[in-house]
């Protein structure tokens, strides 16, 4: 339901951050925004949630330009929210429960309703078991789940994820992917990342950002096979794509499907 239209953003000193960026999150359930560090992914997200205001162009929500007054933004953010990269900078309490309840308390919900919602969301992200532990005893991956819970609890329609798996080890990466897959069943999702294998597996539609400009967009299967564009953006091909191109086999969305295909074909 969110779109940006010819969005341009530059910093006070004139450094260009985003130029003429048009992005439409309706193109897929899970839209990927990929690009190298400094390509503008985070700035784009900050524009999309109304923290930064575009210098030119606009952000549309349900087809209408978003407004930058307090009242509008309050309403807007109950629908559109973001999980930032570093959980340490979005967890404010040393107590898991209080932290996840933060947004609801700020919104003025009854404690009873808060309790219900927080519990539900903690279960959903698999954090219910350690909800009694103080936050500084949690591992990075556990904190990440708390951070997701803290946003999920607002129950909006769209969630942006900024580098959701950076710094996570393989097991935790898998868990976060599962959480995102689960959320995406009922919400619109956008993910920014420079981890190509992640985006390739998770997203259905992607935009490639390079130096603040969209240099390609399309269905995952169509964009990821354009090696020159990925290279220009400083990105890698996912290995399944490499196999597809070098070995002349069909393109598979994930490794399970590929190995299935292989064993059927070659009986190995």
């Amino acid at each position: 339901m969110i779109e940006t239209k010819n969005l341009t953003y530059f910093y006070e000193d004139g450094t260009m951050a985003l130029e003429d960026v048009s992005i439409d999150l309706n193109r897929g359930r899970k839209v990927g925004i990929i690009g190298s560090n400094g390509s503008g992914k985070s700035t784009l997200f900050l524009n999309m949630i109304g923290i930064l205001k575009p210098k030119k162009g606009k952000v549309l929500y349900k087809g209408k330009s978003i407004e930058y007054n307090k009242k509008y933004l309050r309403e807007y953010r109950s629908e559109v929210n973001i999980v930032f990269q570093d959980p340490d900078k979005q967890i404010f309490y040393s107590n898991v429960y209080d932290d996840v309840a933060f947004a609801l308390r700020n919104m003025g919900y009854e404690e009873e309703e808060i309790l219900r919602r927080v519990d539900r969301v903690l279960k959903r992200v698999g954090a219910y078991d350690f909800k009694e532990k103080p936050v500084h005893f949690l591992s990075y991956g556990q904190k990440k789940r708390i951070a997701i819970a803290g946003v999920l609890v607002m129950d909006g329609s769209t969630i942006l994820f900024d580098e959701p798996t950076s710094g996570l080890d393989p097991v935790m990466t898998r868990e976060v992917i599962n959480i995102i897959e689960d959320i995406s069943k009922e919400k619109n999702i956008a993910i920014s990342s420079h981890d190509m294998n992640l985006i390739y597996e998770l997203c259905d539609y992607i935009y490639i950002l390079n130096n603040g400009k969209v240099i390609a967009e399309g269905l995952v299967e169509d964009v990821f096979v354009q090696k020159e564009i990925l290279q220009k953006a400083g990105l890698d091909e996912p290995w399944l794509v490499k196999l597809h191109k070098k070995l002349g086999i069909p393109l598979f969305k994930n490794e399970e499907k590929f190995f299935e295909y292989w064993s059927e074909k070659y009986g190995k």
Partner: protein, 227 residues
């Protein structure tokens, strides 16, 4: 992140001898408050204005914005100085009577105010010249040459570096709070700002813990030397 700092590294005079820039600005400051002469101060202001915008190429629009906050303070203070209270109407150029007292503008305070305004403009423009054309990293070398106490120089080096680490963190925390309605209404705002300060405060110790390990591994011997 801090606009003045950004300009200090990108302006056209950035590579000009830092000591010269420093002495030029400080000299101008001394002359400005020392002579306290209207014409001299006007000239200093014009020179600094031209040096900073035309030669160092700081965009005029942003340059003028830097004056905004100080000028508000100036305005309030000037009003305070200019308006006096007395029971005697004679001391004023013009006045109004409120109750038993006259409130008005006295000739002496008016002329004093004019001097203040010119002095402030010339001083501020001199300071802006320095801070917009000379980076802190250059100033640190100047301080060292001027034989500032070594411990001050070291603390300046460290604080300058850490300012940006904390600034970035505070911004990220602030954004995350803002997204969760942390700054809707007074009560939420106070709670959020307190939480933010707490988070940063705890960060001091986390960083300290990690940094002394890093110092150890870099053979730190108690001194942060500058070249």
């Amino acid at each position: 992140m801090l606009l003045i700092d950004k300009y200090a590294y990108t302006n056209r005079l950035r590579n000009f001898n830092p000591m010269a820039k420093f002495l030029f600005a400080i000299g101008a400051l001394f002359i400005a408050i020392g002579l306290n002469n209207l014409y001299v101060n006007l000239i200093i202001f014009l020179i600094m204005f031209i040096f900073t915008t035309v030669i160092a190429k700081i965009p005029i629009k942003n340059y003028l914005k830097f004056y905004y906050a100080p000028l508000v303070f100036l305005l309030v203070s000037i009003i305070t100085i200019v308006i006096n209270k007395s029971t005697n109407r004679e001391v004023f150029l013009c006045s109004i009577k409120i109750g038993q007292n006259y409130f008005g503008i006295n000739e002496n305070s008016l002329s004093e105010s004019i001097f203040i305004v010119f002095r402030v403009l010339s001083c501020i423009s001199s300071m802006f010249f320095l801070s917009l054309t000379t980076s802190i990293n250059q100033l640190i070398k100047v301080f060292k040459k001027l034989k500032f106490p070594p411990v001050m120089v070291e603390l300046i080096v460290l604080i300058y570096r850490f300012i940006f680490i904390f600034l970035e963190e505070s911004k990220e925390i602030y954004n995350a709070q803002e997204m969760k309605y942390g700054y809707v209404g007074m009560k939420n705002s106070y709670r959020s700002i307190s939480l933010l300060v707490k988070c940063l405060f705890i960060r001091i110790f986390e960083k300290y813990r990690d940094m002394i390990i890093s110092l150890d591994s870099k053979l730190y011997n108690g001194e942060f030397k500058v070249g």
